[in-house]
């Protein structure tokens, strides 16, 4: 089933000084259960694409549909995860995770039960009454993902979610996040600068051009391995890395 369909989407930012054409004629579709990575040069418009899909902005041209319905405003069909974890320091981990349901005024026992299950399943149950400041970077990022999942979104939008972490943590959190997303059967769209990260995670990699972004090329990554870490050990990994790297840099 097709979850997301972007058709000839473009966006121009207006400021007093100038007009900035960020993206132009982006056409992209994502199937249920897919893990897509979006790579491209700095400032090419990746964050802009995620903002459009999440409904934070309206495109200047083209259409975006989520499960057949046009996107009009932010809703619970998409879950946005940002570069920093954005946990609220004054809320416990559990309260942080229930932020979404609280906003939607939907703190039913069912929702709470689901959040509890997620906490238990992904190793944060003992930390539910702690404050974010008492958790490690990796745990915080996991908590941020669970917060996103608490609204049960169909499509996860991940904007460089690991770039604030150091290299070691990054590999393991990347692995954790992948496993959580797969076991919750979510569809994900990941933006990253890090090509090896893209190759280790994605089913499909979409390479964007420099600003204004257009889709330059799409690659289906067919490395057969169960986890990102295992993928990195495979021989095809290096080959894919080189291919994508060349495509991004030319």
């Amino acid at each position: 089933m097709e979850i997301l369909k972007m058709n000839n989407v473009s966006l121009t930012y207006q400021t007093v000084e100038q007009e900035t054409k960020a993206i132009e004629n982006i056409t992209l579709s994502i199937e249920d259960g897919e893990f897509i990575a979006l790579v491209g040069p700095s400032g090419c418009g990746k964050t802009t694409i995620l903002s459009l899909i999440s409904g934070l902005m309206k495109p200047s041209g083209g259409t975006i549909t989520l499960m057949g319905k046009p996107v009009e405003r932010p809703g619970s069909e998409t879950g946005y995860m940002l570069q920093r974890d954005m946990l609220f320091e004054w809320r416990t981990i559990e309260k942080n995770i229930l932020l979404g349901p609280e906003i939607h005024r939907n703190l039913s026992d069912e929702v709470k039960g689901k959040a509890e299950d997620l906490l238990k399943k992904y190793g944060l149950w003992e930390f539910r009454d702690r404050y974010p400041g008492q958790l490690s970077g990796g745990m915080r990022q996991r908590a941020a993902l669970i917060r996103t999942l608490a609204l049960d979104p169909k499509l996860l939008l991940l904007d460089e979610p690991f770039s604030a972490l150091d290299f070691q943590t990054r590999l393991s959190v990347c692995n954790d996040v992948y496993e959580i997303i797969k076991s919750e059967k979510k569809t994900a769209l990941l933006v990253t600068h890090d090509i090896s990260e893209a190759v280790s995670l994605a089913d499909r990699i979409v390479v964007l051009s420099a600003r204004p972004a257009v889709v330059k090329k799409t690659f289906v990554i067919d490395i057969d391995a169960p986890t990102p870490l295992k993928r990195r050990e495979k021989s095809e990994f290096g080959k894919w890395f080189d291919t994508i790297w060349k495509e991004v840099s030319v």
Binding site: Y80, L82, R84, M86, W90
Partner: protein, 265 residues
Amino acid sequence: MKKQKSEHELFIYKNRNRKIKIIVVQVLILICFLGLWELAAQLEWIDSFITSSPSRVIKMLGELKEQGLWKHIGTTLYECVIGFAVSTALGSLIAVALWWSDFLRKVLEPYIVVLNSLPKIALGPIIIIWVGADAKAIIMMTVLICIIVTIISTLGGLMATDEGKILLMRSMGATKRQILTKLVLPGSVPTFLSVLKINVGLAWVGTIMGEYLVSGAGLGYLIIYGGQVFKLDLVMTSTVILCFLAAVMYFAVALVERFFKKRSF
């Protein structure tokens, strides 16, 4: 047999020891100061007519008790607390309104800047003429002195909210009101607490200044009156009481701070 202390117990023990030491030294300094003052006055190293002395202050306290000490304290305390409460509440409300409306904020910005740099005491005569030469004028002076600082500092705290967190809430479909109540306000509690502390100090400045300008009662009045008739005992005694009251109010705010730090929102 004595049980070996665990590392944590040892840490707590050391920590407490240090705290006790600090308090002991603090008290010692006060005692030394008062003792020296008294000694110097008794031995006539200093002229206690001008400098007064602890024993004279105590004697003056006794005298004042006959002459409505409580009324003076009550008056000043009343003016100060009302001024403090009104300016804090009103100032915070205005700051929230300015956070809410970009337009209003841009419009009022120059006015606030000018009001902030204006020495409020210059408005004394105007206040007296407008609201009358009584407690109302003093409260007005206190509010004027505190409120601009409250608005500026609180607004600064509100505006410093992490853009990323706002974006996160918007992506979850939060309304502006929810962003205010769930993110901006709780995130600004530390700013608000520091504003409270600043305001305690400023409220006293405003009240005493107001009493210097107009008053028939209050500690500021006693100080001014004492100065005029050259009764330094009266001036010193009133100042000591003032120190005491300011300290009590500061600790009350510290209690509020403790309360806020303990709970999550």
